[in-house]
């Protein structure tokens, strides 16, 4: 589903990724590890199409509507409520039975009580949960997660564990993490980026 040969990304003169080969089959789960600044985030942004490679070949066999992307930022409006944010994304992705799906996700990630509060009032962990709701909202088949556990408390992390295990069979994953132990049982492959 993802195929890269000699992938390279530079910002100006600074080289963030160099000569990277990568292959993720459909249904695969690639775990990306490496120290800070090794290009994990850049790799995910390249695959998501948010950045363009400066060299090499990158093929991603998925359309934008099949893509679920979790970045460092939750990508939601701080001055809107959780419900309003998900409603906007639900409309943009043309999610069928939008309201029911949003309600279900908010319930599952423990945000239902806070659904009508502005995101600005959320804690870091709650924002991460909302971001995960946004990622899973349109039932993506290629899921890109950048440090998905950051900010989550023990309970939130367990929720995410369960969600990932459930989706493991139906989607393809590319996940970057500092804590490979936690996800190793799910992974079909690991990639270690050097600094």
């Amino acid at each position: 589903m993802i195929h890269a040969v000699g992938l390279e990304k530079r910002y100006g003169a600074k080289r963030v990724l160099r000569n990277l080969d990568l292959d993720v089959e459909q249904g695969g789960f690639l775990l990306v590890t490496g120290p800070n600044g090794s290009g994990k985030t850049t790799l995910l942004r390249l695959v998501a199409g948010l950045a363009a490679p400066t060299g090499g070949v990158l093929e991603v066999r998925a359309e934008r509507r099949d893509l679920g992307f979790l970045g460092h930022e939750p990508l939601v409006y701080r001055e809107l409520t959780a419900l309003e944010n998900l409603d906007l994304y639900g409309r943009l992705y043309h999610v069928p039975e939008r309201r029911e799906r949003i309600g279900m996700l908010l319930e599952r990630f423990g945000l239902w009580e806070a659904r009508s509060e502005r995101v600005a009032t959320y804690s870091r962990g709650m924002q991460q949960r909302l971001a995960l709701c946004r990622v899973f909202l349109h039932d993506p088949s290629l899921i890109l997660l950048d440090e998905p556990f950051s900010g989550l408390d023990a309970e939130g992390a367990e929720l995410l564990d369960r969600e990932l295990a459930e989706l493991r069979a139906s989607a393809t994953f590319l996940v970057s993490t500092h804590d490979p132990e936690r996800l190793a049982p799910l992974a079909s492959d690991q990639l270690r980026l050097a600094a």
């Binding site: 003169a13 600074k14 080289r15 950045a51 363009a52 400066t54």
Partner: protein, 210 residues
Amino acid sequence: MLFTGIALALLWAPEDADQGPSQRIFYLHVPIALTAYAGFAWGAWKALRLLWTGDSRYDLESYTGVHMGTIFGTLTLVTGSIWAKTSWGVWWNWGERQLVLFLVLFLFYGAYFMLRYSLADGPARARISAVYALFGVVLIPISFLAIRLAENFIHPVVFTREGPQMDGSMFFTFCVCLAGMLLLAGALYRNELTGKRLDARLRELREALA
């Protein structure tokens, strides 16, 4: 070689100048203005190529083209102002369409450079400045039309420049000047482009060694 071309044309010109010496600057002013347009158009063409193909090497070419356009555009303002002084006795005249247009373009391309300096080096900067450069060539005819329309209420008395009734030798002189100016711009363009490319290459190497 280009310089001898221009100098020859300038020395040769007086024999046709029946409007006095002021007319002589025509041979300098108009080719400079046309060269400026050529620079802007070249920059926009390369910008279009960049957006079309996504090839980042067009970025520097587009930038250098716009840079040439801006240099010659500024010269147009200066020579035009001198011409206005010698012909009408004022340094600035809102009735002169070309000059007003170049003032607008000067502001526009000044903003282009501000935009470029404000963005971090990378593909986003290349694309955003390319889009702005494209807006520039669309703005040229629209602004020209606007300036013509504005004359109706800003400057009711339109100065009609003596239409250059050029005979053969004047036209030839003009063409030599234009060709010389374009060659000069082309040489400057290549020179700057090579310098910029070297610069980028050097930075890359330094990064690779670090």
